[in-house]
């Protein structure tokens, strides 16, 4: 039994088990995710001891499905498993009273399995399948409370946004496979020339959609409609991370032209969604915008040619953002709302949760010695080679500090109210572990650099700049109201750059038009599928009718006669035995004839 299969099968089997049993979903889910977590840590340990393993499954001819555990993929797998395990722990409390728990845990586990498959995929086909499964299961999760107003729309929006960008992944993969002649990811990374540029740009489109980058970032904020554990999982190590992971894994292949585009998209996203976060009036939506912004910073690092820095920030961000979301979930439970004005003072009522939230916020802003400092420092150091990238990254950092400080200010400054909610123990346990990770992960970064055999540029200038940006951002956010800070941009930011200004016409509208064309295309396809289904049904009816009139009539005729015979038995028992014995004798006679005749022919 390979650890890779254990990582994938444990949550999958748990999901399959929950569905028919419909009992003890929490226990089964935690057991499944726990085994997966242990196996992922085992993979990581194996990675540190220098062994790589892979599983090859039969797939298309000449193109087997591969799952590989290289140092990079095992780090990512461990990250996914960690966050998933503690988010599920938290969910035990959060979903305590929901009566659709089996569905929730099944979908969550399916989602985690899909994400692990994506992370460990060693060939493009597996990656594509996992990518689609992630999209699908996130659609199920965002739409979990489909009965509530607006939820179905949000789920559909998220699905269509990411789906339309997936087109980039499909074509990109075809280009890569055509150029390299194999589906193995590690081999296709050697592709060069125009194919690499085209494929790189197409993969960037896919990443834009999944990682909610400009211009396809709108869906992420709306995806807050799902339960909080879902948001925590989607935003930290899984759904949104898929885009960044795709680019990190393919970074060695990307030529300078594609890197330029990646950096540009990332930088702009970091600033634009940072501004949106600063103006946001809803805590969870603010965190969502912040996610886009932080992934923008990761893309900046990839664009600057240092994917390792992006990976470090991905890891740090996963722990930080999941704990932030989980904390926000506790406040939401207390106040039954996610609007900032209702949240005022919620932190003061729960000092311990607030402390965790604040530590994570400071970590996100980049305050030493928390993990975010190290990863952000690595990004800025990487970006320093290109001045305009560095500028965008620094602005993004300032904004990060500002919006996090603003949130903290609101949570702390208002009047505390009495709180009453159950299940906080489970939730607190999940948060505590993630916060501790957010604090100490930075210490593990040198070991990771060693494992992945990458040396990051060290720059004291970057450290100073990053620290100054973070500090000034925090100060601005705490002392200056957002309205003043944003100035003339505020109305736009409030509408999420909704993109009433020039933005919409330039970028989003075409994208939306494509999305709509895709949607229409899908509708045509849908109708086609429906028509096929309808005709199948018709065929089925015809078959059934012929069954009823033909075969069924025969069988039922037989049954009727049997029943009639049975009735006779009651009156005249021996009659039937006679008849059956006669049949037996006829059968024996046939057997005898065949046996006598057989040697003549064989």
């Amino acid at each position: 039994m390979n650890l890779i299969t254990l990582v994938l099968l444990a949550p999958l089997l748990a999901a399959i088990l929950i569905l028919p049993l419909r009992r003890w979903p929490e226990a089964i889910a935690l057991a499944g995710i726990g085994i997966s977590f242990a196996a992922a840590l085992g993979l990581l340990a194996a990675g540190f001891s220098g062994t790589t393993s892979q599983v090859i499954l039969p797939g298309l001819p000449e193109m087997p499905l591969r799952l590989v555990a290289t140092p990079l993929t095992s780090v990512l797998s461990a990250l996914v498993a960690t966050v998933a395990a503690f988010v599920l722990l938290y969910a035990v409390g959060y979903m305590g009273k929901d009566n659709e728990k089996p569905r929730f845990f099944t979908t969550m586990l399916l989602f985690v399995t899909a994400m692990q498959t994506l992370v460990l995929a060693g060939d493009w086909i597996t990656l594509l399948a996992a990518w689609e499964l992630i999209g699908f299961s996130s659609y199920l999760l965002i739409g979990f409370w489909y009965g509530r107003e607006g939820v179905a729309g949000a789920a559909t929006r998220a699905f269509i946004y990411t789906r339309s960008a997936d087109l980039g992944l499909y074509i990109g993969i075809f280009v890569l496979i055509a150029a390299a002649g194999t589906t193995e990811i590690s081999v296709t990374l050697n592709v060069t020339g125009p194919a690499a540029i085209i494929a790189g740009l197409l993969l960037l489109i896919a990443a834009i959609g999944k990682s909610a980058q400009v211009p396809l970032y709108d869906w992420l904020q709306r995806a807050m409609a799902g339960p909080t554990p879902v948001s925590a999982l989607l935003h930290s190590a899984t759904l949104v991370a898929a885009g960044a992971i795709l680019l990190i894994r393919t970074a060695p292949m990307l030529p300078p032209q594609a890197l330029l585009a990646v950096g540009l998209v990332g930088g702009i996203t970091a600033v634009v969604t940072g501004l949106i976060a600063l103006g946001e009036r809803d805590l969870k939506r603010m965190l969502a915008a912040s996610t886009s912004s932080q992934y923008g910073l990761m893309l900046v690092a990839v664009g600057a040619g240092v994917p390792m820095a992006a990976l470090l920030h991905l890891i740090a961000h996963a722990a930080i953002k999941s704990s932030l979301f989980l904390g926000a979930g506790v406040f939401q439970h207390d106040r039954d709302s996610t609007a900032m004005e209702d949240m005022a003072g919620a932190g003061r009522a729960r000092p311990r949760i607030f402390a965790g939230f604040a530590i994570s916020a400071l970590a996100l802003a980049g305050i030493p010695p928390l993990s975010g400092f190290f990863s952000k420092d690595a990004i800025i150091a990487a970006a320093l080679t290109t001045p305009w990238l560095a500028a965008l990254a620094l602005v993004g950092t300032v904004l990060t500090g500002a919006y996090m400080a603003r949130a903290l200010h609101i949570l702390w400054a208002g009047k505390p109210r009495a709180t009453s909610s159950a299940g906080v123990v489970w939730m607190g346990a999940g948060i505590a572990v993630l916060v501790v990770l957010a604090i100490i992960l930075g210490a593990g970064f040198p070991a990771l650099e060693q494992l992945l055999e990458v040396e990051l540029p060290v720059s004291y200038l970057a450290m100073a700049l990053g620290l100054a940006a973070a500090a000034s951002g925090l100060a601005l956010g705490w002392f200056v109201p957002a309205a003043q800070l944003l100035g003339p941009v505020r109305p736009w930011a409030l509408r999420g750059f909704a993109i009433a200004g020039g933005f919409d016409g330039l970028v989003l509208r075409p994208a939306m038009a494509i999305a709509r064309v895709c949607e229409r295309l899908e509708r045509v396809l849908y109708n086609g599928v429906l028509a096929i289904g309808q005709s199948n049904l018709e065929l089925g009816f015809i078959t059934r009718k012929s069954d009823e009139q033909g075969i069924d009539a025969m069988i039922f005729g037989l049954v009727r006669r049997t029943i009639a015979a049975g009735d006779r038995v009651r009156l005249l028992q021996s009659g039937l035995i006679h008849r059956e014995l006669a049949l037996t004798v006829i059968g024996t006679a046939i057997i005898t004839v065949v046996l006598i005749a057989a040697p003549m022919y064989f």
Binding site: P20, E580, L583, V594, L595, I596
Partner: protein, 453 residues
């Protein structure tokens, strides 16, 4: 002689156990009889283990101690123990309870004779020993249905038994010996050979409920207590199949016996599943399904003269069949005889529902369950022996099988029409023990076999 007896410890243990069981029943202590039976069966199973690699025969070649008979013991003895548990669950506290236990063990003794028979006399002895006990078991309830079923069973048995003994005398005359191993030296032309072969097919075909000797089975199973039906559908059937293997592997292939066995196999499984498709009484449905399953067994028997995979496949499928059929009958005892009783059962008792699904899917031969492993080996054996057409028919019948078993599975997960009240399941720990063990064996052995093979 002493050497021979040392190979017969399992049989001797079992017959001693039967004697003690009868004594216990005489003093009206049925629970003691049950205890004697279970201990005797366990002891006999344990005593079989040292025989695992032995390949010899005792009493001048009349009784064989080989892979087939040893594995028969390892399969049939635990299967009998589970049947006793089922019988206890059904008949506890009833009149003449202990005699059922002792009869069951006695019939198993006959079944062991059949599966180790190396001689015509022993074959007849086995058929009679299993037959007489079975009639009494079926007639146990002493009501009209049971009496009628037992009568039918008896008349069928008497006729086929007579034909069998009559036909076997031709073999004795032709070969000058009652040993199967002498069958190759037959004199007197092909008709003598045919007469004995037809006789064997009639006698054992009746025991294994092959078409066209199956007519008694649904009535007998339906009239008998369910635990007895479970027992008969499993133990005597497997014994008869193993006896087929013992006889036919010594028979020259030129007689064309594989062809006739293949034809019977095809007809048996097709008719069995077709009839099962229209049953609403679960016991009758399982009766027809077990008729069809014996058709599958014959896939291995067809190949028994030409390759070694055949015996292996029959043994593996035998083990699988014991587990899944006993489990399915146990579930019928839990839920009820009618198909309607199963409506909503899977929602009402999720764990038992999953177990039943496992058992039924295994009967249908769905991977990765135990039944699938057995069937794959059987298909392989038949194809190796050149009977590809038969394997194709068997695979087509698997589709029919799925339809038969889905007729039970689908209602299990339907919403009961008038609330949960319609599910009236009896939760007896003894029954639970049986279905849990059989379902787990079906699942684990399937997975294990897939890893090992």
């Amino acid at each position: 002689m002493a050497r021979d007896l040392s190979y017969l410890f399992p049989e001797m243990t079992l017959s001693m156990a039967v004697v003690f069981m009868l004594l216990a029943e005489m003093v009206r202590m049925p629970r003691l009889a049950l205890a004697f039976g279970l201990v005797g069966l366990a002891l006999a199973t344990g005593l079989t283990l040292p025989l695992l690699d032995v390949n010899t025969s005792v009493f001048s070649g009349t009784y064989r101690i080989d892979d087939l008979s040893t594995w028969a013991k390892l399969i049939l003895l635990p299967g009998t123990a589970f049947s006793l548990v089922l019988a206890r669950a059904e008949l506890a506290g009833k009149d003449r309870e202990g005699s059922v236990y002792s009869l069951i063990c006695l019939v198993t003794l006959g079944a062991l004779m059949l599966s180790g028979a190396g001689d015509m006399m022993l074959l007849v002895l086995g058929v009679v020993l299993t037959g007489l006990g079975s009639f009494a078991l079926v007639a146990y309830p002493r009501d009209d249905a049971a009496t009628e079923a037992a009568m039918k069973f008896l008349v069928f048995g008497a006729v086929t038994g007579a034909v069998m003994i009559y036909g076997l005398t031709f073999w004795f005359g032709g070969a000058g010996s009652t040993l199967f191993s002498e069958l190759g030296n037959m004199r007197g032309g092909s008709l003598v050979m045919v007469a004995g072969l037809v006789a064997t097919i009639v006698g054992l075909g009746y025991k294994a409920a092959l078409v066209p000797f199956h007519f008694w089975a649904p009535d007998a199973y339906d009239g008998a207590p369910i635990s007895v039906a479970a027992y008969l559908s499993v133990i005597t059937k497997i014994a008869a199949i193993f006896a087929f293997a013992q006889v036919l592997r010594d028979l020259p292939l030129e007689t064309g016996w594989p062809l006739i066995i293949a034809l019977i196999s095809a007809v048996t499984m097709t008719l069995g599943y077709l009839a099962a498709l229209v049953q609403t009484n679960l016991v009758r449905l399982l009766a027809y399904s077990s008729i069809a399953q014996s058709g599958y067994f014959l896939l291995g028997i067809v190949a028994v003269g030409s390759n070694t995979l055949a015996l292996q496949s029959v043994i593996v499928f035998g083990a699988a069949y014991v587990a899944m059929n006993l489990g399915a009958f146990a579930m019928v005892m839990v839920v009820g005889r009618s198909l309607d009783d199963f409506k909503g059962f899977g929602r009402h008792m999720p764990v038992a529902g999953v177990a039943m699904v496992i058992l039924l899917l295994s009967l249908a031969g769905i991977p990765p369950l135990f039944g699938f492993v057995g069937k794959v080996l059987l298909f392989g054996a038949a194809i190796d022996a050149g009977f590809t057409w038969l394997a194709v028919i068997a695979i087509l019948n698997s589709v029919l099988a799925l339809a038969v078993y889905l007729r039970i599975i689908v209602p299990m997960y339907q919403q009961p029409e008038d609330g949960a009240a319609s599910v009236t399941a009896t939760k007896q720990p003894l029954l639970t023990l049986v279905w849990v063990v059989t379902a787990v064996v079906t699942l684990i052995m399937g997975l294990a076999a897939e890893v090992l093979l």
